[in-house]
């Protein structure tokens, strides 16, 4: 640790003198810890050897004087005063074996640490300020060149894009929207309408295929639809108990007869 005298400089110096003479000027201090640090310096010892008991006494004297001068002290100054009074008594009295908390020595060490740490940061701040600073001792380029902005566009496509594109162009003609084509279609309703009257006139078993309309046989698409519709119609009639269906083996002709 450097000599306390060169810890602060310039504007800070009058405050140190103020502390030495215990002239109370709360305005100049940044809180109770700052006051304590100033008081600790007045002990003119290395902060590691500072007497916390003496420090507490000094601080309490500082607060007393402020009160005598009717200076409004912020609450944290008073809190610190109360805490230091407590710490002083802990340090002076023999330790209470029943008390599990930190000892007075530990609390004092903690306070001494805080003071040293604050002082170290003050010195670090001063050291930083003393460095060759940009714009004060070191300088940047006076005539920076503003870069021109250019933009390059790289176009990409991959092979799959290309193939898809080609596939798309080549299939455009084949593609047409799906339209339900009713020309070739026989609905189940049509088949039912056809089956019902015919069954009424027929007795006994007959091949279901005999009931197909005659004009479908030479049109495969229409035939397929008519077969499906007639079969579905027969199933529907069977479900309603109007006909019976039979098929002897798989793929054998399906036969139908009306139920009486």
């Amino acid at each position: 640790m450097k000599d306390v005298d060169d810890l602060r400089e310039g504007a800070v110096a009058p405050r140190r003198e103020a502390a030495d003479t215990l002239v109370v000027d709360v305005e100049g201090y940044e809180g109770p810890l700052d006051v304590l640090l100033a008081l600790a310096r007045s002990q003119k010892v290395d902060l590691r050897q500072v007497s916390i008991v003496q420090l507490a006494r000094q601080y309490l004297g500082f607060v007393e004087e402020a009160r005598a001068l009717r200076i409004e002290l912020a609450a944290d100054y008073l809190v610190m005063a109360a805490w230091l009074a407590y710490l002083k008594s802990r340090l002076l009295l023999p330790p209470d074996p029943c008390d599990g908390g930190p000892t007075g020595d530990e609390l004092a060490a903690r306070l001494a640490f805080q003071l040293r740490r604050l002082e170290a940061m003050r010195r670090a701040a001063a050291d930083l300020g003393d460095r060759a600073r940009l714009g004060r001792e070191r300088f940047a380029r006076g005539m920076p060149t503003v870069p021109d902005r250019t933009r390059d566009v790289i176009w990409t496509a991959n092979l799959i894009d290309l193939l898809r594109a080609y596939a798309r162009t080549r299939t455009k003609d084949e593609f047409r929207p799906f339209v339900f084509d009713r020309r070739h279609l026989m609905t189940m309703e049509e088949a039912l309408d056809r089956l019902r009257p015919m069954l009424g006139t027929t007795m006994g078993w007959s091949d279901l295929m005999r009931f197909l309309p005659g004009d479908v046989l030479d049109d495969p698409a229409r035939l397929r639809s008519a077969v499906a519709a007639t079969f579905a119609a027969a199933l529907e009639l069977a479900r309603h108990g109007q006909v019976e269906l039979e098929q002897t083996v798989p793929f054998a002709p399906i036969r139908v007869r009306a139920r009486s």
Binding site: R151, I154, W155, T156, L163, Y166, R168
Partner: protein, 209 residues
């Protein structure tokens, strides 16, 4: 040093120190400086002219040069590095659907005329599309067709093969292969990507850049 006989109050800095000073002054200055201005800023006994000469020599051929313009001096970056001073950004964009289709048709049918491309695509090909493909060096002019009007034909370039990783155009899969690869199922694609306008040349940049 400068004046050996006349004892100066302070010795002038040596030549290297003077050069350093001029270097720093010129670097940090917001405007070019005249020799007189430099001289005025140097400590007593310095020789701005000698320092400037030494500095110019030191920077000759470097990325930064000491340039004289009339009576003023300034550092400037070497003229041959001008291209480096531009903030160059590259952006990758996907080729538009129209351009890709046109490219594909040229690749599959080359040499192909514009009219043939339009016949296959079923839409007119905007002038910009083929030109863009030629700009990219993926398409070039082939021989004129020996038909009335002698229309120009288009063929793909080696750069095209390179980009698409093809040894030759024979490597392009035929329609049958495209179909078996599922690439001829036009419907899902039609559903997801609407056909762009003919003059909508390029797709917006793809999100991955």
């Amino acid at each position: 040093m400068t004046d050996a006989d006349t004892p100066a109050l302070f010795d002038a800095p040596d030549a290297i120190a003077q050069e350093r000073m001029v270097e720093a002054l010129l670097f940090a200055s917001a405007a070019p400086l005249t020799r007189a201005e430099i001289q005025a800023r140097l400590p007593h006994g310095c020789d701005a002219r000698a320092a400037l000469d030494a500095l110019a020599e030191r920077y000759a051929g470097r990325g930064v040069e000491l340039a004289r313009a009339g009576e003023t001096w300034a550092f400037r970056t070497a003229p041959d590095l001008a291209a480096l001073m531009t903030d160059h950004r590259t952006e990758t964009r996907r080729l538009s659907q129209a351009a890709t289709e046109t490219l594909a048709i040229i690749a599959y049918h080359q040499p192909v005329t514009r009219a043939e491309i339009e016949e296959i695509r079923g839409v007119s090909v905007s002038r910009g599309t083929v030109e863009h493909l030629m700009d990219m060096d993926w398409v070039k002019l082939g021989r004129r067709r020996d038909t009335p009007g002698r229309p120009v034909t288009f063929v793909v370039t080696p750069a095209f093969l390179d980009h698409f990783g093809l040894e030759s155009l024979r490597d392009l899969p035929g329609l049958k292969e495209l179909r078996s690869a599922g690439l001829l199922e036009a419907t899902p694609m039609e559903a997801t990507t609407p056909e762009p306008e003919a003059d909508d040349l390029f797709d917006r940049p793809s999100p991955e850049g």
